[in-house]
């Protein structure tokens, strides 16, 4: 009898083991495949000077203060550029989970600017596979300098310039992200016949994370149609620097050959040359407030 009882238990034992294992399996089977959207392709809405595909989430207000000092090669008398400061203030806000808008004011040519950035496609894995994220960026800038020639009939529209960019980015892994950005700049009025009204350009940028909170970033724009700006030779803008993240802040330290901190300015009007040492040190500070 005892033996029978024992063999009965033996017979049941595989079922018990199965019964224990299958609780986790049961959950695994029940869990639906999900779309896994890639997040944090870049730490900030800017790679360096230009925009990244990142956007402020809905209800979040980003207060940005950016500085570019003078040229490093201006020597010890100017404390290597630190005596001069160009500032850009910005208030930027996420409206929907596909739209952010912003306004700003920069020292450079006393320019007011406004922009909208739309998320079109988001990189994802899982249920839906999408290799890249795509955003569209559009901005308008108003130069508020005194008219260079007050005698002639001046129109407000002459102060305006427009920028459109398609931003295509891929986060290859936790530390490496890359972005290309075909860009178009239109200036309503240009100073001389040599300055084109329309500029075509393609930019490339990326980041490599050095640690969880620090990344090395670089950004370059090849400008196809521009050679001079108001009689000065222009160069392609190149910026390198670091993102440093601390809680609600992102600091970006930057070395760049452009003074302007908006697209219209740095794409077509960069008169500094890396080769000659016309390098500006600067930083962007971003502080995010939750308004929801």
């Amino acid at each position: 009898m005892k033996r029978l009882y024992f063999s009965f238990l033996l017979f049941l034992s595989p079922f018990f083991i199965y019964g224990q294992e299958d609780l986790m399996d049961l959950l695994d089977k029940e869990s639906k495949p999900e779309i896994n959207y890639t997040t944090a392709t870049f730490k900030s809405t800017r790679i360096m000077n230009g925009h990244s595909i990142e956007r402020m989430p809905p209800g979040q207000l980003d207060f940005r203060i950016s500085h570019r000092f003078g040229r490093i090669n201006s020597g010890a008398y100017e404390l290597f550029g630190l005596d001069q400061a160009n500032i850009h203030f910005g208030l930027e806000y996420g409206i929907f989970n596909w739209l952010m808008v912003g306004i700003g004011r920069g020292t450079y040519e006393k320019t007011y600017d406004g922009f909208a950035k739309f998320t079109i496609v988001r990189q994802s894995t899982g249920e839906k596979v999408m290799p890249v994220s795509v955003s569209f960026f559009s901005s308008v800038a108003v130069n508020s300098l005194k008219w260079s020639d007050p005698e002639r009939t001046n129109y407000f529209s002459s102060r305006l310039s427009y920028v459109s960019q398609v931003l295509v980015a891929r986060k290859f892994n936790q530390s490496l992200s890359f972005q290309i950005m075909p860009s178009y700049v239109h200036r309503n009025l240009v100073e001389t016949e040599l300055d084109p009204n329309d500029l075509w350009s393609i930019g490339a940028g990326g980041r490599i994370k050095l640690s969880k909170r620090i990344s090395f970033n670089a950004e370059y724009y090849y400008v196809a149609t521009s050679t001079t700006y108001q009689g000065q030779q222009v160069y392609d803008p190149l910026s390198i620097g670091f993102d440093i993240e601390t809680g609600g802040h992102v600091f970006q330290l930057i070395f760049t050959n452009s003074v302007a901190m908006i697209e219209k300015g740095f794409i077509g009007e960069t008169t500094g040359s890396w080769g000659k040492g016309d390098i500006h040190f600067g930083f962007n500070i971003s502080r995010v407030f939750n308004l929801k």
Partner: protein, 175 residues
Amino acid sequence: MFLFLGLFFTVNAQKYMTKNGYIGFFSHTPAEDIKADNNQVASVIDASSGEIVFQVLIKSFHFPKTLMEEHFNENYMESDKFPKASFKGKITNLASVDFKKNGTNEVIVEGDLTIRDATKRMTAKGTIEIVTGGLNANTKFIISPEDFNIKIPSVVRENIAKAIEVTVSMKYAPI
């Protein structure tokens, strides 16, 4: 034959499951309170063996501040690398729970909590309330980020508590 079918049915009905249970955590420091909620927790209780398992998708934790959520996933939990947390345990005082009778039962659950591939043996007190058409389970316990190799940099050390309170609230239905 009918008797056999009936038996089969009761054995099956001893398992309870949910896919939208709640787990939240709360970190309190003088500098900042941090709270996150996850309403997509999956869990199964086997009433016959007292076994209980949980699966928690880390990316389903939502914070009032979106930026905080991004940092949570990117910097602390590394949820691309470790997408899920899980718990596998047992009700140690199963004998004192009568699943047939409506009412609240005090239980002690002991098991392995796995977060970021680090497993820690845990014991927590909670309640299982037997209600018509299912059961509700509630518990609170404390975990420490250190136990799961979550590194907290010195700049935010003032903002993140060493002991984080976890609240679990589940409504199970029989399967």
